[in-house]
Symmetry: C2
Subunit: 349 residues, 2 copies
């Protein structure tokens, strides 16, 4: 792993930590100049920030998140890629520290989503004011940082699927962030969850989040679904793993069920048994939040986030943080984010 | 292969061939008493026919069809199975030769669908009058025999998919009966077809049926779709093969396309690349005509067949017959039906 800009760190952090905000004139960023393994291509760079234009704002990072799709973008395998060289990271929360002369709807001190296009794994940025989404100040800061990728993924799949109250959802990687949000949102929506995990020690924590049933991957659960759900109908499967795990979900679904792939942790191709498509009327679909954002109006997106922030405020959904690292400790942070854990790894300036 | 009843054949066929219809008091049937390979478990049996009850009719076979799903039912691998012992075959056309005292809507000489529940690979049967669907006398007899499985499969997939005029369909096994009906129906509906076959000698015959483009399986067509379709949108894939062939169809689809599996010629599981589900918004579904029949009213089924018979009468759809065998030559017929060919193999008394 290559590191640059280290010598400037101390100098840089001093003003950012004080209240002399006007002195934030550089950003310390985790960047990549080519696609490849994160450990090979990511590096720390200090860059000067441009002047704040009339329709721009200067922001400083509060918390950023490390998500699996961040790795896909760095690797070049994701469905959309950033122009190179790029700053990593897509999700986080920031604070406005300087406002351009023509910007009227934002002021210093506002809490906002760190705009994805800028790359989120950096301590500060100057961004177009139009790209900024506000975050209510009373939402927990860690939850606000995690609000933009996983909660809307769980919410959209649950809301847009044709499912009725009382029916069951089955999901693998149930201890993932989407998994935990799905458990909590499903309960709120009157649905029940059959949760699949790889490690037994996750069973009790997931029940603490409201999971109805938790089983391990190789327990043969897919043959005992009727007993596990007390004969309930399993109408929706959340697949973010792939391989054999994805097939077990297909088998666990009731006739006419929908299987939605939104991630591919194992990167294994899936050997679907086509007879389930034909005879059990199973439908296999994908969900990609980026496309949903692209296909929906700012108003509709805002309505969804109003909804999600309410669920956060009222404690309907919460999420554990596994650990928080400084930006300059990103190598350890990335490693921690790929180890078995419960909760996201966050970055802070 | 075991054969029985051979000695009676000649005696039996004499009255059926004459007009002394009242003498049809036995049926010569291709039966199976257990599930297994067709060559092992199918046998020819002569059985007496019961008296015609007040709400029944006696029918004699005109033409029966050999379809891939017939093999699945004999093997025991199909999604629904007949009670054993059973008569093979699900599709054919018959003539009413005797009518029960309370039956008012049918008369001797009517042409009808040979009811599936009775098992179609037999020369005659006594069946409930309520199970009988009439066939217009002006529809070509061979086409009428083939009307019940493949044309409605092609029609329902085309009609129930959300596709717009001018868009493209891609299909493998394009020389199958469903394939040929799809080519002709698509043209009628203002759609275009990209057809995949395994043998080059099928290219010209398929063009004769109205295929827009015909390619071979390993031509790499899935990477040249834009050129082949002149940039057109490929919105629907018909998969009846499985394996690598099914995956090529996924790759050939435009963003948001639907991939429908209605058969599994190779019986291979399919290694779906899940990234197409997520990033290309591809949806994988199945179609099973048996379920469609079960889920729809007799009126709606009748409307569809009125429609299909019209397409047959007006020459919009037609289909080749590869060969016609006598019931007692079924061993050769079954073998012929699994060999490379263009057109169905039919059975006749």
């Amino acid at each position: 792993m290559r590191w640059t800009g280290f010598s400037l760190n101390f100098l840089w952090r001093t003003p950012a930590r004080s209240d002399r905000l006007c002195l934030v004139d550089t950003t310390l960023a985790i960047t990549y100049h080519e696609h490849g393994k994160p450990a090979d291509v990511l590096r720390l760079e200090e860059r000067p920030l441009p002047e704040v234009g009339p329709q721009e704002v200067k922001i400083k990072l509060l918390k950023a998140v490390i998500n699996p799709s961040d790795f896909g973008m760095v690797l070049g395998s994701y469905g959309k890629l950033a122009e190179l060289p790029a700053v990593g990271g897509r999700e986080g929360v920031a604070e406005v520290i300087e406002v351009g002369s023509e910007v009227t709807h934002l002021r210093a001190g506002d809490r906002i989503r760190f705009p994805e296009n800028a790359g989120v794994w950096q301590t500060a940025a100057v961004v177009p004011a139009k790209d900024v989404w506000k975050v209510p100040a009373d939402v927990d800061l860690d939850l606000a940082a995690m609000a933009w990728v996983n909660p809307p993924t769980a919410w959209r799949i649950l809301r847009d699927a044709n499912i009725h109250e009382g029916s069951w959802i089955v999901q693998n990687a149930a201890n993932s962030a989407v998994g935990l949000f799905t458990i909590q949102m499903a309960k709120y929506l009157g649905l029940r969850t059959l949760n699949v995990v790889r490690r037994e020690e996750l069973i009790e924590p997931l029940k603490g989040y409201g999971a109805d049933v938790v089983v391990t991957e190789d327990s043969g659960y897919e043959k005992q679904v009727k007993a596990l759900t007390d004969g309930g109908e399993v109408t929706l499967a959340f697949n973010s793993v792939g391989g054999e795990s994805a097939i077990r979900l297909v088998k666990a679904l009731s006739r006419g069920g929908t299987h939605i792939t939104f991630g591919a942790m194992t990167f294994e191709a899936v050997r679907w048994p086509t007879r389930y498509l034909i005879f059990n009327d199973i439908c296999l679909k994908g969900f990609w939040l980026d496309r949903w954002y692209r296909d929906n109006s700012p108003e509709r997106i805002q309505v969804m986030f109003d909804n999600l922030f309410n669920l956060m405020r009222t404690g309907v959904i919460s999420a554990p943080v596994s650990a928080t690292y400084k930006i300059q400790d990103f190598a350890q942070a990335l490693e921690a984010s790929t180890s078995p854990k419960l909760g996201k790894v966050l970055l802070e300036p």
